[in-house]
């Protein structure tokens, strides 16, 4: 198995954050394969995934301001337009038209299945489609993303080999278990989640989003729409489950 941060993965499309968590006038700070990202939405709803660095003096854009149409860098107030990343205004020289050279490094991104997906490098001329395109018959609910201080490789390997048994044996209070965990591709697993009380099972997808060599975000989603009355309880249940997965994978670090 190649290391999660093999250069070839830079051409893959990864889920990075739930769409609903990139609200208006907010800048979501993230990483992907060691690349720092600033993810933001303009007031028309268009999503942007930019290198988190102002090309002027290298200041992180994520500490700046989302004005609804641009990002304004916190250091000198330079403004960069949504979608193009082009600098539109330099306050120190207010009458000057900024050269087209002054541009933020932007990455391709789309929104689908409830996530913002980002690709760091163009892979030939492929259209942007999320890894493992899911068929349209699905009714997906995204769950809380779980930030885990463990490599993607460790998490994936543990999920495939040890997760089912350990969760069942060690965490009866979770209220649910995972079974039939299988890898669909390097960063996506599919599983059946079983509710211990009702014995109902539902298909689940687990995406792994490598932040850095040592940190991963687990993005789980279920193939089911969850009715409002039980929504909060279900979210809590799954959050406990993935919190446990996170804790085990992080504890595994201590053994190395």
């Amino acid at each position: 198995m190649t290391s999660a941060l093999d250069k070839s993965f830079r051409g893959w499309l990864f889920p990075v954050v739930r769409s609903q968590e990139v609200g208006l006038r907010h800048i979501h700070r993230s990483q992907l394969l060691n690349q720092e990202l600033a993810i933001w939405r303009d007031d028309d709803g268009q999503i942007n995934a930019w290198e988190n660095r102002c090309p002027h003096r290298g200041t992180r854009l994520s500490i700046g301001l989302n004005t609804g149409v641009e990002i304004r860098c916190q250091y000198h107030g330079w403004r960069y337009a949504s979608q193009s990343g082009q600098c539109t205004f330099i306050p120190a020289h207010p009458t000057m038209e900024p050269s087209p050279r002054y541009c933020v490094n932007t990455f391709e991104c789309i929104e689908k299945y409830g996530y913002v997906w980002v690709r760091l490098e163009k892979d030939k001329d492929e259209d942007l489609e999320p890894l493992l395109p899911l068929t349209e018959k699905l009714s997906l609910t995204t769950l809380r993303s779980v930030y885990t201080m463990a490599s993607t490789t460790r998490i994936r390997d543990w999920l495939i080999s040890d997760c089912e048994l350990q969760i069942k044996v060690n965490s009866p209070s979770l209220g649910c278990s995972l079974t039939e965990i299988q890898q669909r591709h390097s960063f996506c697993l599919e599983a059946l989640s079983i509710n211990d009380q009702t014995d109902k099972s539902v298909t689940m997808f687990i995406y792994l989003h490598p932040l850095t060599d040592d940190a991963t975000v687990i993005h789980p989603l279920v193939n089911a729409s969850i009715s409002p009355e039980i929504r909060l309880d279900e979210f809590r249940r799954y959050n406990r489950l993935f919190g446990t997965i996170r804790d085990v994978c992080e504890a595994g670090n201590a053994l190395n």
Binding site: H56, H76, G77, P94, M96
Partner: protein
């Protein structure tokens, strides 16, 4: 506190990276004086540990204001019977300066320091997770005032930076920028209203910068705000803020507080710059006209072959 056996500093004692570096032939940074602390924050007779240019050192100050400094060749802070490498030291402007090598010149002059009515104040030493040159360049920058220091050094929409002169002075080997003007709502503790302030910037040392601004009460005299930066590692530094003011109204605490407030506004900007070391290749980061002092500073560092804390061309 026992006295370690002292030997003169020699090239062999320093990390090989500093020695193998081609810049060693000029020994710009290693031979130069570097600030390591303020007398105001030092207790007499106590050993202080610090790191200078990636080299762990210890220093102390005696009752007669004599400074001793040495490279830690033993383990940690305990003085041992094995030889320690003694370093050249001096005290200037009530700061302790150390050289890892052989200083060829004195520390730069600030004649105003000796004026009888001058308030010479050490504001504070603050550790910043960025290279020393980035900290200096931020100090030399005007265009950030309305965004980082709103209400004091700048205010929107008065964001325009007019052209100014920035030059390398060959004889003194310093950088100088004059006629730097900016409208400031509250330029200093003695200011009672906003006005257009004129700055002079002077960089007499790769990691030290001084600015001169007209005193709010007596426009013929200049207040001095300066930053003497200790290069701890290539991506971390200790910033010492030294002020030499004409001010008969405000207490030391008030003057310090004003300066600390300003610096603490710059700190998160500095700690969010990527990369932490200063790129000397002028194409690495985009510059506009108001960045003349910044680009001059980068050219000067390149000319002097300053490699510590920079990304050379």
């Amino acid at each position: 506190m026992g006295q370690p056996k002292m030997v003169e500093s020699s090239v062999d004692q320093l990390p090989s990276r500093l020695v193998d570096d081609p810049a060693w032939s000029g020994r710009t940074v290693v031979d130069d004086w570097q600030v390591v602390g303020s007398l105001d924050q030092i207790e007499v007779g106590v050993n202080y540990q610090t790191v200078l240019l990636d080299v762990p050192i210890t220093f102390n100050v005696t009752g007669s204001r004599e400074v001793r400094a040495w490279i830690n060749t033993g383990c940690g802070s305990q003085t041992s019977s094995s030889a320690s490498v003694r370093l050249k030291t001096c005290v200037q402007y009530r700061y302790i300066w150390v050289s890892l090598g052989q200083p060829m010149q004195n520390i730069f002059e600030i004649p105003e320091y000796y004026e009888p009515d001058r308030r010479n104040i050490h504001a504070a030493t603050i550790r910043v997770k960025v290279s020393a040159p980035r900290a200096i360049e931020n100090f030399l920058d005007l265009a950030h005032f309305p965004f980082v220091h709103p209400g004091s050094l700048g205010e929107e929409p008065f964001t325009e930076v007019k052209d100014y002169d920035a030059v390398i002075l060959e004889e003194s080997n310093e950088v100088l920028a004059q006629k730097c003007c900016f409208w400031q709502p509250n330029a200093m503790p003695t200011a009672t209203e906003g006005y257009e302030v004129e700055y002079v910037y002077r960089v007499p040392h790769p990691y030290c910068a001084i600015l001169y601004k007209a005193n709010a009460i007596d426009m013929n005299r200049m207040d001095i705000v300066s930053i003497f930066v200790q290069p701890v590692s290539e991506e971390e530094c200790n910033a010492n803020m030294f002020l030499a003011m004409i001010d008969d109204q405000n207490s030391d605490t008030v003057i310090r507080s004003f300066q600390l407030q300003i610096f603490a506004q710059d700190k998160p900007i500095l700690e969010n710059q990527v990369p932490k070391r200063l790129p000397l290749d002028l194409r690495a980061e985009m510059s506009v006209r108001c960045d003349a002092l910044s680009t001059t500073y980068r050219r000067w560092l390149h000319k002097r072959d300053v490699r510590f804390g920079t990304i050379p061309q």
